[in-house]
């Protein structure tokens, strides 16, 4: 439906993944740090503990400079990268939830103006007034979280929305509640790393350094256990059947789970260490914890995204941005049905008919001027490009490692599907995988796609080309 941006050097989805992981890290810090700061500030006021303000001011500056604005920037970054990578997916969310996002915007405005007010009024307003600002920051941040989780979880479980067509049904869906509470819990773990970073920068024995480190570690440990408990007893059981089937499948790249487990264990050890020996805490440990958490969050967020596969909006829109479900209450008809009959080429605005394509030999068609391969390229981009590298454009090589995303060339080579006929037979059957949709289009279009993939494979791995194979057999 829209022009397709494959990405450059790396796949478009990876731009999104990195931006998202960073946003989650920064935004989760803001919410739970606001609660932790509130806790300390309440004690500062009630117990007349002046020394807590030293920590609070330094934390607030860090939050103002790093977490709030970088969180906001990365949030907008998600908009931009999602829009470029999968515009119809974000369009569905916007057209369902624009006013919820508008509501989140108010909370966000409260957060950003709030942290500016909070930081720039230290010592300039009464303690009670400043404490009120702390309350506003904690509540505003939690409001932001509450709203965005409804929109995010809709992608995995639109639930009753299919029947009612009402935004409320989609928003308060079946995974909304467990995800909300799980994220809230894990936020304290992330925030503990933040508090360790701030408090760890104080000289040893400085004011309440050790006390704050121990409290932060305790908050973090409680958040960690609560988050894991919610995942095991509430969130995971509420996942749809398809998502549960995907969880152990190869759709989730191999290093993902080890990365998450390592992150959890390392965080646990780090927090216990901070709790037991706060005097040993150094800023470098906290920075390390942040890096580990970034890795774990990256893995967890990628998993959350993959759980919906092969859809961008589960049960409604496939990753290639075609609608495949009728929703009578909203007057929506499946596009896949129609396009399976009419064919893809020439029937969507940016999927041109063969007569509109130039059949010139170029790197994009691996040196071929065959019109069938040119048509196959268009289909590969539209049907597969959202989740796979379908050209060399998104496969930058760093230190000998090719940074592609589930490259079709790799997959075909792994399955020993080296000829167009084998690939075509495979494409006929891909709908059988839990994480794949059937090919949409005519038989001729599917054959064209197979021809393109054959050329892609042979160009990427010349040893798979028939002449090369024949030569090897002769040897």
């Amino acid at each position: 439906m829209y022009p397709f941006w494959e990405g450059l050097f790396i796949h478009s989805t990876l731009y999104l993944a990195f931006t998202s992981a960073f946003h989650v890290l920064a935004s989760h810090i803001t919410v739970a740090a606001a609660w932790f700061n509130l806790y300390l500030e309440r004690r500062a006021v009630r117990e007349n503990r002046e020394e807590f303000y030293v920590y609070l001011k330094r934390s607030a500056l860090g939050l103002l400079v790093f977490a709030y604005v970088f969180g906001a920037l990365a949030g907008v970054g998600i908009w931009q990268t999602t829009t470029a990578a999968n515009p119809r997916g974000i369009s569905t969310l916007i057209h369902n939830f624009v006013l919820y996002w508008g509501s989140e915007w108010y909370m966000f405005l409260i957060d950003v103006i709030g942290i500016i007010a909070y930081y720039y009024t230290f010592g300039r307003v009464s303690r009670q007034t400043h404490l009120r600002l702390a309350w506003i920051l904690a509540l505003g941040g939690t409001g932001t979280l509450s709203i965005i989780v409804g929109i995010l979880s809709f992608k995995l479980t639109p639930s009753a929305w299919f029947e009612t067509g009402l935004s409320l049904s989609g928003f308060f869906n079946t995974t909304f509640w467990p995800q909300l509470f799980m994220r809230f819990a894990f936020m304290f773990t992330i925030t503990a790393a933040w508090a360790l970073l701030i408090a760890g920068s104080f000289p040893r024995g400085f004011y309440q350094r050790e006390h704050i480190i121990r409290r932060a570690a305790l908050f973090g440990l409680i958040g960690l256990f609560a988050g894991i408990a919610i995942w095991l007893t509430w969130f995971e059981p509420s996942l749809p059947v398809n998502a549960k089937a995907i969880l152990p499948s190869r759709a989730i790249p191999a290093p993902t789970f080890p990365m998450i487990y390592f992150g959890l264990i390392a965080t646990f050890i780090g927090l216990v260490f901070a709790f037991v020996a706060p005097q040993m805490q150094r800023r470098i440990f906290a920075v390390g914890a942040m890096v580990v958490l970034f890795g774990a969050i990256f893995g967890a967020e990628r998993t959350r995204e993959v759980l919906r596969k092969p859809d961008i909006i589960s049960g409604y829109m496939s990753s290639n941005q075609l609608l495949f479900r009728d929703i009578p209450v909203r007057g929506i008809a499946s596009e896949e049905k129609r396009l399976s009959q009419t064919g893809m080429l020439g029937n969507l605005p940016f999927v041109p008919a063969p007569d509109k394509m130039a059949n010139v030999a170029s790197d994009l068609t691996f040196g071929s001027s065959d019109p069938e391969i040119a048509a196959g390229r268009v289909l590969a981009i539209q049907q597969c490009g959202s989740c796979h590298s379908v050209s060399k454009q998104t496969a930058m090589t760093v230190a000998g490692v090719r940074l592609d995303l589930r490259s079709q060339a790799n997959l075909l080579k792994m399955r020993n599907l080296t000829t167009a006929s084998k690939i075509d037979a495979y494409l006929k059957s891909i709908g059988g995988f839990p994480y794949m949709h059937p090919f949409v289009g005519t038989d001729a279009e599917r054959r064209a796609l197979a021809r393109y993939f054959e050329a892609f494979l042979h160009s990427t791995y010349p040893e798979t080309a028939p002449t090369s194979q024949a030569q090897q057999e002769v040897k």
């Binding site: 494959e6 119809r88 409001g143």
Partner: protein, 400 residues
């Protein structure tokens, strides 16, 4: 398939959840705040660089440069936050335009935020580490370049979005699909000059006067404040006529393409003349600073309307109109948004008043009325969660 048919097909089948022309009004109004902060960020960044590079011997300039260095990153933050609202509304009623532009320029769309992060970080580095004694001016300069480049990217995205008749040609140059998204397909330099550097200067003019007015009660250096306000007025006076010239160039270069030459030329020349007249007549800039700020915001509203009129004219060529955009009143959305708006406005108002009063005088006294507002606003924010969860529970139990 005609361009008009293509645009209709590209619209999201779900339609808008609210009356689309109302969303169009919100789009225009929220853009005013956004562009104000964006141009303030650029203007204050330029001012701090100028002060610390060319006026190092003048204490007044350095003092103003420090204020500008502090203003710049905070304005970037507010520019980003206020940019989210128009971003929401443009996607709702102009989805074909926005999404096509972002995919055609995908690489720059994705890079935008990294460019912004670089610009913002460097602005903060200069504010925290350099603005005291004027070291690290290169960080401020680099920050300005990055922030301006981010503005250029947004300008290109908008320019691409209002030219749907060119999209296919850009996507398939010579019949071969280009999925790299690296080309700057469309731009209009006079428009860019009008919207960014010149408006940055005018935003700076208004903000500088306002800052002088605001600091009156807590600063004893009245000479500096008078000088600052006078500088703001002078800047406004010099830039306003140039603003008109750039606007005319914009009208003459972009106008004919959409048949809106007069529609751009007349109001921008009018705005330029009105602003020039205002600055000429402004005798005590420090006393009239709030009025000057209001005048400038009103001028920005005028520009926002002109911008929207160009988009409407461009789309009308293909039969695309916001008035025809399908919609279905979604009462759940309206309920949540309405409730949050009441709470949000109260809390934001309270925060702004606290910021204002805390720094307006030497003592930083918060008035009892504002304190009372704070109690109510905080209570309302707490109550919002009750409202939110009740709506959730009602949905789970009854909307099935």
């Amino acid at each position: 398939m005609t361009v008009g048919e293509m645009l209709k097909m590209m619209r999201d089948p779900l339609g808008a959840p609210f009356f689309p022309p109302a969303l169009q009004v919100l789009l225009v109004v929220t853009w005013v705040l956004h562009i104000f902060f964006v141009t303030t960020a650029l203007g204050s960044s330029a001012l701090s660089i100028f002060a610390f590079t060319f006026r190092r011997t003048s204490e007044s300039w350095l003092q103003l440069g420090r204020i500008a260095a502090r203003l710049s990153p905070n304005s970037v933050g507010l520019g980003i936050v206020t940019g989210i609202a128009p971003l929401l509304f443009v996607q709702t009623i102009y989805d074909p335009l926005w999404y096509a532009a972002n995919t055609l320029s995908g690489f720059w769309s994705a890079m935008f935020i990294f460019i912004m992060m670089g610009g913002y970080s460097l602005a903060y580095v200069f504010y925290l580490k350099g603005s005291k004694d004027g070291r690290l001016v290169f960080t401020a300069a680099l920050s300005f370049v990055l922030l301006f480049f981010a503005g250029w990217v947004m300008h290109v995205l908008h320019s691409v979005s209002i030219r749907p008749d060119q999209w296919l040609r850009w996507y398939m140059p010579d019949g071969v699909i280009d999925t790299r998204g690296v080309t700057f397909h469309a731009y209009n330099i006079p428009r860019l000059v009008f919207l960014l550097p010149l408006q940055a200067a005018l935003s700076l003019s208004a903000v500088v006067m306002f800052a002088a007015w605001y600091m009156r009660k807590r600063s004893d250096d009245h000479a500096f404040l008078e000088w600052t306000a006078g500088l703001g007025r002078k800047l406004g006076l010099v830039v306003s006529p140039i603003y008109g010239v750039a606007g005319l160039a914009w009208a003459l270069t972009e106008g004919p393409e959409f048949g809106v030459t007069a529609l751009i030329a007349v109001p921008v020349l009018g705005l330029s003349a009105a602003l020039t007249g205002y600055f000429l007549a402004l005798k005590r800039p420090i006393d009239k600073a709030p009025l000057s700020l209001a005048v400038w915001l009103a001028a920005l509203l005028g520009v926002a309307v002109i911008r929207e009129a160009i988009r409407v004219a461009s789309m009308a060529r293909f039969g695309y109109s916001v008035a025809d955009y399908p919609y279905r009143m979604d009462w759940g959305s309206i309920l949540v948004f309405g409730g949050t708006t009441i709470v949000g406005v109260m809390v934001v108002l309270y925060l702004v008043l606290v910021l204002y009063q805390a720094n307006a005088s030497k003592e930083g006294t918060i008035s009892p009325r504002v304190e009372r507002l704070g109690k109510i606003a905080t209570g309302m924010l707490g109550a919002w969660f009750g409202f939110f969860f009740l709506v959730g529970i009602y949905t789970v139990l009854f909307l099935r």
